[in-house]
Symmetry: C2
Subunit: 382 residues, 2 copies
């Protein structure tokens, strides 16, 4: 018997309340039973995104949302700044290239956050740039980019929108769309929303919708103007992924009970405990500006990162993520995003301690756990 733990930065565990809600008999997406479910989810998504705009619901992964965020607002030949500090930053460039949008890449060393001044300089150097694409959290490195500052820079420019990949950010840390002036915000279902993969979400500001009117990039499946019109009638443009939307309503209900400030405080606490634990056991943090969504841990010298994730998985039944692309073998990533609490952090740290021992790395057993407990203890004495 292996009792399994999913501690990867997506998909994340789905609460049993949500799993059971989705296991109910399927309902028709144009029926009177479904409409109030979608209407409730729609309202609660606005709460989550902190926006007055409707949050459009796509049947796709988060990448589908990113494609929608590019193809609905710009046209072939338009220029866009892509902040590339990891695999998902590179994805912006790939999407631009696929649709004839000209990427102006700002390359950032993986593990570091972009300097907003570089964005400002690039916009000055190239005033025609119509969009800045950024990750609020770059999942491949665990870095949090300065979204607020980048949004402020875009806000000063009439013709430039700030487009934010919030796939591992929405519902993790504060990212108020309207008050920060984020123009397009994208997320996916399988992260902080505690759902299986299969839904993408996109919200857009009036500034972005104005660009949508002139955008000539071909699109059909991801047509946000049509989705907006349909969502006003509590429908989606094509068949709704009804079971996932039933789960979405249930997950958002759980999130509303905790409240945004509670959710953000929990993620912050779990992230701090994880970072403290990792460092206390003698391992290094990879991200210079770490996100509360996940912690990227440096694999110690002389150890193969592949062995770390394999030992965690095969010996301790703990699924984490390794490094991607150039980071393969060099880092592993412990998530603390979504349906995570105190003992998910403890399990992750304890499994890491034992794995390091097994692989012959010089870690002191229990030290990581102890450091995390210092932060996680919440009783009277805390």
């Amino acid at each position: 018997m292996l009792k399994r733990y999913l501690l990867a930065p997506g998909p994340t565990p789905v609460p049993h309340e949500v799993l059971l809600a989705m296991a109910a008999p399927i309902i028709h997406h144009r029926s009177p039973e479904f409409i109030p479910i979608l209407a409730q989810a729609k309202e609660d998504l606005k709460w989550l995104f902190q926006t007055q705009q409707d949050v459009l619901i796509l049947t796709s992964t988060g990448t589908g949302g990113m494609v929608a965020a590019v193809t609905n607002f710009l046209s072939p030949g338009d220029k866009a700044i892509c902040i590339r500090g990891g695999k998902f930053g590179e994805r912006w460039t790939e999407i631009c290239n696929a649709y004839g949008i000209v990427p102006v890449n700002i390359d950032v060393e993986w593990g570091t956050a972009v300097d907003p001044q570089k964005v400002e300089d690039a916009l000055k150097a190239d005033p025609e740039v119509k969009a800045v694409y950024v990750q609020a959290c770059e999942t491949s490195t665990g870095v949090m980019h300065p979204t607020k500052e980048i949004a402020e820079i875009c806000r000063k420019r009439e013709g430039t929108i700030c487009v934010v990949d919030a796939i591992t950010a929405a519902g993790v840390f504060d990212l108020p769309m309207d008050s920060w002036g984020l123009d397009v915000v994208v997320t996916g279902s399988q992260k902080a929303l505690m759902l299986p993969p299969g839904l993408g979400f996109v919200a857009a500001s009036e500034k972005a919708w104005a660009l949508n009117k002139t955008s000539k990039t071909p699109r059909y499946y991801f047509n946000l103007a049509k989705e907006r019109k349909k969502l006003a009638e509590n429908q989606t443009n094509f068949t709704s992924a009804a079971s996932l939307i039933v789960g979405l309503k249930a997950a958002l209900e759980m999130m509303k009970k905790e409240g945004l400030s509670g959710i953000f405080a929990r993620h912050d606490r779990l992230a701090r405990a994880t970072r403290a634990g990792v460092q206390a056991m003698g391992l290094g943090l990879f991200a210079k500006v770490p996100s509360p969504a996940l912690t990227a841990v440096k694999v110690p010298e002389g150890i193969d990162g592949g062995d770390v994730t394999k030992c965690l998985r095969d010996t301790y039944a703990v699924t984490v993520a390794g490094g991607q692309d150039t980071l393969k073998g060099r880092i592993f990533r412990l998530a603390h995003m979504g349906y995570f609490d105190t003992f998910d952090v403890i399990v992750g740290l304890s499994a890491t301690e034992m794995t390091m021992k097994d692989l012959g790395a010089p870690v002191a057993l229990g030290k990581g756990v102890a450091a995390a407990e210092e932060i996680l203890a919440r009783g009277k004495g805390a």
Copy 2:
């Protein structure tokens, strides 16, 4: 207490075995637990499509599959025949228009099937046409188009592929991809596959893959060549919709137990019983060449079709589909596709009889049910 029945042509009911499989804790899509599940589903999909080609799995609705089927094989400026005999035929034209492919429309009266001679003539008149887009079953009218004959016409032409929307056909009636020479076949999860909406499926012949090499239509999320490469490693290009794929494996297991010939015979039997029942109660069939997937019923003179679907739904808790676009109010559609058996047909016919009585249409109670029972009786005396 209202006990609900879902008799619409998608989404269709999901068997409880499948619902429970999907309610299991989420598993990571790159983990060793998931790989064999995807591998099994991949093999079983080939069985379902009757093809040696891999059937690619997309996180999207069936429409996403249709977009993939257009954008991965043709280029802007290419011509394609779109057979338009209903709402989904029109969708081919819309997708072509969105991507700069030039549609050559063959308009077919709604409710009738296309004459293959017209396709042959159109191809002779316009030898540059690179694809013929057709619905194996046009869900909006309940018509079955002559897919086999159209495929034969395309087969004789080196540069023309036959692209089939099999969204309400795959797993309903015989549509052997390889032996008929279908070049691209598309389906979705929420029909005969007995799953919630959220997965699209596309398989392509070598003739189609050859066109893929020169196709210049922009694409990123629906990139079939990348999906093909990834599926060879039992992965999907982006995050897999893991819970739906777990359900897919379970649904395909059920289907394999019944066998293709058993599945097709069941659908044929239920369709014949439904049609006999509808006619016996004095109502007319809308489709001249009716599909075994669903039966489109003409609303009697003097009755509003909206009242029929509303009465069925609100009084008898039976969800069927009304007519779409120009057929709104003129037909209603009873499905018998996927997880349907004898008493789903009986429920649909009985509810229709009572609804017609309630609305003042001259139907004889019990006559439709009796006619269906003649066909559905399977005991020793049958």
